[in-house]
Amino acid sequence: MLSGRSNDQSDATTQKLSSGQRIVNNFCITVATVNGSGSQTSNLTIMRALLKMGIPVSGKNIFPSNIQGQPTWFTIRVSAEGYTARCEDTDILVAMNPNSFTRDVANLNSGGVLFYADHIKTPINREDIITYPMPVQRISREDAATPGLRDYVANMVYVGVVAQIIGIELVKIHQALEFHFKGKPKPIEMNFAAVEKSARWASENLHKLDPYWVEPIQSNNNCIMMDGNTAAALGALYGGVQFAAWYPITPATTLAETLMEYRPILRNDPETGKNTLVIIQAEDELAAVGMVVGAGWGGLRAMTSTSGPGLSLMAEYIGLAYYSETPIVIWDVQRVGPATGLPTRTAQGDLTFVNFISHGDTQHVILLPGNITECFEYGWKAFDLAEQLQTPILVLSDLDLGMNLWMTDPLKYPDIPMDRGKVLWEGDLERLNGEWGRYHDVDGDGIPYRTLPGNRHTRSAYFARGTGHDENAHYTEDPEVWERVLNRLRKKYETARKLVPVPVINTMEGAKIGLIGYGSTDPAIYEARSRLEKNGIKTDYMRIKAIPFNYQVKEFIACHDRVYVIELNRDGQMHQLLTLEAKEKAINMISLSHIDGLPLTAEWVVEGILSHEEKAE
């Protein structure tokens, strides 16, 4: 162990390390704190300051399902190459939590750096790391205006010390604080004073012994930082959402809360200043989705957002929406299940459930956003699809995408006008002499026409129901009619194939192996591909963006010797669905699935593929 404390070290060690290599803009920081201590502000400040220096950065909050007192970790990855997947290694550890200290220190890479609060007296039994003690309690006692603010100031101490040692510009920290506190001078200056003081202390009392540095990168990138739930909510607001009902559940809560936050800013009627969006916190998810079905039937752009347990409750109404052909949008920000599972960890485990959700014969249209841009895009596009297809649209995000902050291009304004689908108003019915039926397949695409409550034409009304109905929405138990209606719904599903987003395909010259992924695993697969290439394995990569699968999906599977289906669940759920889709090629598909609640790493993907490839050779 080499201590960076000035009075601790010999000249010999200083010389030995100062001649060492510099590792610039390529390392991982783990900050270990106690949850509820306000460390999130500090971690986001570091991340944002790095982004403002032009350095690609990503952050993962590994937090407990608890309000206060449990260990929590925040990992920040700095990658000049732009890799944003979770990194299992820790090069720099900021240890603020005495209770997890021993474990945290044990997990630090050899040659890694330990910044620790100097009131932690646990012995450090590592000879292969560099340590920097930080006088956290002293500075926070001196600087906190009130004892209640000590924890916050304490967390700013590590911001200042780390910034000083690895070279984060303090002016960027100030900008990050300005952003975080929305320009409020008091908290900005209080926190910045603690950062400055800690940085000064570090410059006077610590010698840099480690090789890690950040340096600004000049680029034209005007990236912003956003989490997927915020992007989804903003997308919905730009998609004209008119009705949202929800029930609090981690990790979906912030999606609905973002709708509430921005509703007054974005959704007062430009003509009258009055409200155009109803948001209701329902008594449970059964009621939330019930309200959404009522509103969707009424012609409103209606949505709910939930996670696995809530989705289980919604199964009943989703079946009714499917069979009554009611447009609704449901965001499932996935967490780990079954049961309550791991509420604060990430997974892609709801895919097959969502695909078939409800009793009886159902198949649903699913959107699979893979990044923040797509969270925003599907935020509005899901309504177009729901109203075009008159069916539930289920959007599968996950905790990693939804709650972690990602570096992203600025949000892009919707590039097409709204599509409100096949709706007949009074004028349309007059032209038709009132001759219409709710469930007739007039256009041959399986999608019928609908009327909306409030239509005053005397022939406009129909009675929607979940019981057997004919083309005129009349009750029937006629076997032929039942089958005909259900087969038309399947035809509509075929139409959906042509309307949903097509997959993204990235190829390499001469690749014989295909990789298939979806959702938040994209960064890990992206990084794994370049590592595999260095190992001599070229890969093509298809990221699926929607179900039902477009024809490109089958083609991709058909034109590769082996296809790895990579996902974050135990059973290989996408692999299962693709096996149903491309039965004749099922033998060529290999499931590479894994679930431990953490975002996928490139290492895991590389190892999984290499071990299979060795067997295949």
Partner: protein
């Protein structure tokens, strides 16, 4: 309307005949109390000059919930899920807030599987008439106890009911309902007057209508039977509903009647019988219900009313244009607003 003039059928103030309010023929059992309630909904809407297109129908699942197809064919309707009608209605009413809504539920649908949604619909003052066609039994599944079944009631396959019944009117009042009434399907005039008052109420109007099941629960001693109801019915008051467009004229002596002014300016006039009853007094409402249960009375009439409370829809300050008629230009924020947002992240 042309056929009507040819037939010389009487029409109401909006030029509609009774037949304009009809529904499909009922498929419920002969003599079912629910059919009588459907007829009174038709009569009430006709007399209140409600254009059928201006009313929405909702229901859950069960015999009662089938009945919205037996009235007002020209109204939009949605027959939803068992116990989940309140949420469906809460969403539906926002489509066009100029519309009125009627929800039909049963005792199983409301007091068993749907108790949670019922109480939350009440708590939110969801603007609708919420009718519970209460017979104390599951009909469609052929005769099981519901949560309103009497303690000790015997049913053919079920034996004796060991549990205390749930009182829907009581539950509504403790959940802060703004209009609670009880009636008996065998008293069509009172049913109609209460439906009319409920349709004029600004907020949720809960009508617990004892509607005997002629097939599965019509034993003379059961509180949900015709015989029992006829014998034990105690009306709180004679009831006359006066729409705002009619001249108010009621046959009563000064001091003997209580007028309750509804949101739209219409009135319910309660003619007192032997008791001095004030339906605007919540604790008194709970007291008379308690007393009626103890004395085995079927207490009918307007039990509680609290006018002037904001409804669920009032809370949102919505555009005058119905939400479902707003064009894209009023729903999608501007391009500039997104540029501004981007600069904030």
């Amino acid at each position: 309307m042309k056929e009507n003039t040819i037939d010389k059928m009487p029409v109401n103030l909006v030029g509609l005949a009774k037949t304009d309010y009809k529904g499909a023929p009922s498929t419920l059992c002969q003599g079912c109390g629910h059919n009588s309630i459907s007829s009174q909904i038709i009569a009430a809407c006709y007399e209140l000059n409600i254009i059928p297109e201006n009313l929405l129908k909702f229901s859950g699942i069960g015999c009662s919930s089938k009945s919205p197809t037996y009235f007002l064919n020209r109204s939009f309707g949605f027959n939803g899920l068992h116990g989940r009608m309140p949420s469906l209605a809460a969403g539906g009413i926002f489509a066009d807030r100029t519309l009125k809504a009627v929800g039909i539920s049963g005792d199983g649908d409301t007091a068993s599987i749907g108790m949670g949604q019922f109480k939350h619909a009440v708590r939110r003052n969801t603007p609708m008439v919420y009718i519970v066609e209460n017979n104390g039994v599951y009909g469609l599944t052929k005769g099981q106890f519901s949560a309103t079944a009497d303690l000790g009631l015997s049913l053919k396959k079920q034996g004796k009911n060991p549990y205390m019944p749930i009182d829907i009117a009581w539950e509504a009042i403790v959940s802060n309902a703004t209009f609670v009434a009880r009636s008996f399907a065998g008293d069509p005039k009172q049913v109609k007057e209460l439906i009319k008052a409920g349709l004029s109420h600004h907020g949720i109007a809960v009508l617990d209508i004892i509607s005997p099941c002629v097939t599965f629960n019509n034993q003379d001693q059961a509180t949900h039977s015709y015989a029992w109801g006829k014998e034990h019915e105690v009306a709180l008051h004679d009831l006359a509903y006066v729409p705002p467009s009619e001249e108010i004229f009621v046959d009563y002596e000064e001091g003997e009647a209580k007028e309750v002014t509804m949101h739209d300016g219409s009135m319910v006039i309660l003619k007192k019988l032997e008791r001095d009853y004030d339906p605007t007094n919540r604790s008194e409402a709970l007291r008379v219900l308690e007393e009626a249960n103890a004395k085995q009375w079927l207490l009918t009439g307007l039990i509680y009313i609290n006018e002037g409370q904001p409804t669920l829809v009032d809370l949102y300050d919505l555009t005058d244009t119905p939400l479902n008629r707003l064009p894209e230009s009023r729903l999608r924020p501007s391009r500039e607003s997104l540029e501004k947002l981007n600069s904030m992240f």
